[in-house]
Symmetry: C2
Amino acid sequence: MSQTHDMHTMPYERPNIQRLAPYLPGEQPRPGDRVIKLNTNENPYPPAPAVLDAIHRVDAEQLRLYPQPQARAFRQAAAKVHNLDENQVIATNGGDELLRLAITVFCQPRPTPATAGEISDSAGLGYAVPSYSLYETLAQIHDTPITTIPLGHAFTLPDDFARQLNAAGCRLAVIVNPHAPSGRLEPLETLRAVAKTFRGVLLIDEAYVDFAQHDAVSLLHPEAGLDNVLLLRSLSKGYSLAGLRFGYGIGHRDLIAALDKARDSYNTDALAQAVAVAAIQHRRHAAQSCQRVIAERERVSHALNTLGCRVLPSQSNFLLVTPPADASSVYQSLKRRSILVRYFDQDRLRDKLRITIGTPAQNNALISTLTELTNTRPCG
Amino acid sequence: MSQTHDMHTMPYERPNIQRLAPYLPGEQPRPGDRVIKLNTNENPYPPAPAVLDAIHRVDAEQLRLYPQPQARAFRQAAAKVHNLDENQVIATNGGDELLRLAITVFCQPRPTPATAGEISDSAGLGYAVPSYSLYETLAQIHDTPITTIPLGHAFTLPDDFARQLNAAGCRLAVIVNPHAPSGRLEPLETLRAVAKTFRGVLLIDEAYVDFAQHDAVSLLHPEAGLDNVLLLRSLSKGYSLAGLRFGYGIGHRDLIAALDKARDSYNTDALAQAVAVAAIQHRRHAAQSCQRVIAERERVSHALNTLGCRVLPSQSNFLLVTPPADASSVYQSLKRRSILVRYFDQDRLRDKLRITIGTPAQNNALISTLTELTNTRPCG
């Protein structure tokens, strides 16, 4: 071998990528596996029929030509829904892309090891823990400092959350609201207070907001006097379109313009744009699905309580449940019976399971299986 | 207003994003505009009928559930086509995502202004100019140093290209082959020599390779003794699927594993995955479209030569043409006659037009309009 450099002496990727433990999505059963899938917070009901119609109307020309680079038809439709301006909306390849863009645009990467000394852990990302583990992964990919702030009892934001973010020099903070994995909703006044005090950009991850009684869009109105708020919306859960990878951000036009510069030039495809426009225009259908999920959430919550599980009040499409036996064992037992739920081997979550709300039949299967499991085990 | 911080005193985004001039895609006519669109290198022929069938078979369940995170069915299909292993393939949201991932993973961002002194311009991206302008934009978003190396006469790579990259400390180099915007193909031996000498990762952007007599996959075989080569493929041009945003990377498994860690967790959607699998399985249809484009390319090239244009030999689906009159004026005149071509206000390109090969009827319209324009203007 005549190469000038030796093969495999050291990896080509940056040290932060070498160290990275990639994000692990929930298990995906293979097509044909007969499982009750309550592990990744999908909506149990199908999307609006108009969405499938939009797909079936796609023609060869839409595929052959580049898509509209800004997804303008979607931006206009979303702006109309939220009574905002088109330039306050950005369409993204899933909500995850918006998270990545915000970290790229607002957070500073660490200096290289070559530059002398360590600078203080500042100019990075802050969020409360426990939370959606992708925030950490994305910050590690960007190699920006991370500040984690423990949530209070019952997963409440601490009163000095914004002051802690400022003290750490965070440039971006993420609040997932309703919270994942607890389902707890922080009220609008808390969010407003954080945004007023925090000196960086506050991204409120509203992936699950369609299942809550809540609307934070007023934080974006000029009367709110806030220029640092971004809301993340997703079509994955509320619109039953997890397969589509379509999300969007809404916020101050200057924040949106900055994010817009950093996205891939054609970040959403022509099919997804057509489907997303149909979905948001037929949001009444989605809202009805969400109402059915909410009704089931209350029913399942009550039933699990009766079984001796502790269940946190949720405004989302999942429940965080403390079973009366070892959670990891219950997770395994459910899995053996073809019911997938989510277990997180993390502080404050090791005694809990996150259970997605399914159809009434799926939920009944869950309840009866848990009844059987808890009757044959010592209670906690 | 009671905010602790003043609104609008300074932007929230990082300085490199503030300075960034975003990538400008070619003009996109609105639906219904009757133009001859020869400006963004789309394939003039539709994708395989099987591709539309795949879309029309999409059901609500595929939309409701998260997609397979690694696009495994596509990776397996692509691996089979190239006679490689599945773990040598990564599916991306357009070839552009692969470019962004490679820069993120292999290139070091600059130190913050807060860290004392400027370090040498190293550990960044290198490429020859002129080239696809997105490389510069993506490097600026990542805030990594850029080394540009001028192409020789006729857009050839300089003999000391790899040595110049090494001298600048580049961690990643991109060669677009066939070259854009000239259409010139660098032979395999040149690529092999660059890869052997260059100490970083060599990404060969083969977005247009389906129109060339060329196959660089042998650089990935163990016998080649190279661990630093990545090939970028796109379904946009050769497969007539620019609307779909689907590309892929093939390379050494360690490079693919590193890129895989840095991609968004569900970077390609369920629809796009289904379509991409159908497209690559029906690649014979795509190859026939490409043959028709190649035949037209040769015919148009000859006709433009006859008109007094200088036309570089192209192995792509476009021609770089020096018209016998001011190129910018010819561009404007064509546009007034509803023919869109691409004009780049850049060094070495200001006297040229990049013209996509269209259908025979579109090409005839171009030729006759150019005939008319060059007959009524002084020749160059």
